[in-house]
Structures are given as C-alpha cells and as structure tokens.
C-alpha cells in the first residue's frame, strides 16, 4: 500500500511541476518595472488552465503525501519520494527541451542522494 502512495505522490507532483513550469514559461518574463511585472503574476496564474491544472496536481500530491505518512514513517516517505527530482529533471530535458547538461544532472543527483542521507 505504501508504494502505491509513493507512486501517486511522485507522479502527481511531477505532473504538477511540469504543467506549472510549462504554463508559467509562456508568461512575459518579469521585465522593466519589477513591481508592475510581479503584480500581474497572480492574475496570470488564475486565468491559465495549464497552470491551474499544475496547482491542482500538486494539491493531489500533497494529499497523497499525507496519506503516505499515515501508513509509513517520515524517514521512509521523504527519501522514497526524492526520486521525483530525477524524474522531473528527465522530463524537463525530454518534454520541456531544457538544456540540463552535466552540471545540473550532477547537482540533481547530489541533491537526491543528500535527501536520502538526511532522512535515513
């Protein structure tokens, strides 16, 4: 059962972050007057379906994580879901066409191993 929750948590969180990043990257970069640029971001978030779908998927991930905590300890839940960092980076390279490169791959791998060590 706990692996089903890990699977649900990682999958919905990955979907949420990928949709949010794709949706927000279409926004005008905050340019010129900083405060003027920042002030329109909330309206942009609430009026774009892809971004809202990303937020909803992240809400599902949060609920799945709480459900995971009800059947497993935090020291299992956090390292088990850290694999999401690798999955999200792979999808960012393949689907969002980001130039990940060796520095980012090394950084992400170190972060994932670090999270594992932090919680065992």
């Amino acid at each position: 059962m706990k692996w089903a929750f890990v699977f649900a948590c990682v999958l919905s969180s990955t979907l949420g972050d990928v949709l949010s990043a794709k949706g927000m990257s279409r926004d005008d970069e905050i340019d010129g007057e900083v405060l003027l640029g920042l002030s329109h971001v909330p309206r942009y978030i609430f009026t774009h379906r892809m971004v809202m779908a990303g937020v909803a998927a992240n809400a599902v991930s949060f609920i799945a994580f709480l459900a995971l905590l009800s059947v497993a300890s935090l020291s299992f839940a956090v390292p088990a879901t850290a694999i999401g960092y690798i999955l999200k980076t792979a999808i960012a390279e393949w689907y969002l066409h980001e130039d990940v490169g060796w520095r980012r791959w090394s950084g992400v791998a170190l972060v994932a191993v670090g999270i594992y060590l932090l919680t065992i």
């Binding site: 010129g32 942009y44 980076t89 090394s106 670090g114």
Partner: protein, 139 residues
C-alpha cells in the same frame, strides 16, 4: 531589466521560496501536533479546531506564498534549475531542527547536508533559463 537586477530578483525569490517552504512546514507540523485525534472527533469539530488554529493558518498562508513564489520563478527559470536550487530548504530544516529543537544530527545527516548544499550550488551556477521564450507568449 539589466542583468544585475535580474540576478538580484532571482536571489530574492530563491530565498523567498526556501524560507516560506521551510517555515510553512514547521508551522503546519506544529499546528497539526496541537490538533485533537481525527478519528475520535467529529468532522465539524475537527474542521472548526483547524480553522481556529493560528499555527495551521499561518503555515497554510506561508505555503501559499511558497507556491506563488515558485510559480513566479518559472517565468524566468527552468524547472531543472528551480527544483535543485530551492532544495537547500532541506538543509535549513535540518539546521533549524538542530539549533531550535536541539535534535541530534548524525554523521550521515551531515554528509546529506553537504551533498545537498554542493548540488544546489552546482546548479545555481548554471544559467537559469536554457530554452527560448515561446512565440506569442502571454497572448
């Protein structure tokens, strides 16, 4: 916006994402510890207690700030940049646990803190955006 202003905005938002997420989770955990048992309380009483809990409400407010700040960062930074760079929140959580809650940090956990810090710095030193803006953005 010139390059220096853009770099400063990026730093401010990294800090905002890390701090709001870390303190939001701390407040949420603190608030949930003060709640009655979910299985022995009626749903209405539990919801009323939740909505009257200042720690829970402050935690939720900070996590909303975290979500908004992270979404804003996606307008100028890649997903593969934002996630590892803001993972330094794990380090802050561990250090707060040691210095505020006086928890013991083992050698393995110190190694984890070093790896996350090094990994975040490695990604921080790459350009935040590697993809061109889509044509007709923000129409």
């Amino acid at each position: 916006m010139n390059l220096s202003a853009r770099a400063n905005l990026n730093r401010i938002f990294i800090l905002l994402v890390v701090l709001s997420n870390t303190f939001g989770n701390f407040l949420l955990a603190d608030g949930m510890n003060q709640m009655p048992n979910f299985f022995t309380t009626s749903f209405l009483s539990y919801t009323a207690a939740l909505l009257a809990n200042p720690y829970f409400l402050s935690g939720v407010a900070l996590l909303a700030v975290w979500m908004g700040a992270q979404l804003t960062m996606f307008t100028w930074a890649d997903l593969s940049y934002v996630l590892p760079v803001t993972a330094s929140g794990y380090v802050l959580t561990a250090l707060l646990s040691k210095y505020l809650l006086h928890e013991y940090i083992s050698v393995g956990r110190w190694a984890g803190i070093l790896l996350i810090t090094f990994g975040s710095m490695l990604v921080y030193n790459t350009p935040p955006r590697t993809t061109p803006k889509p044509q007709g953005a923000a129409q």
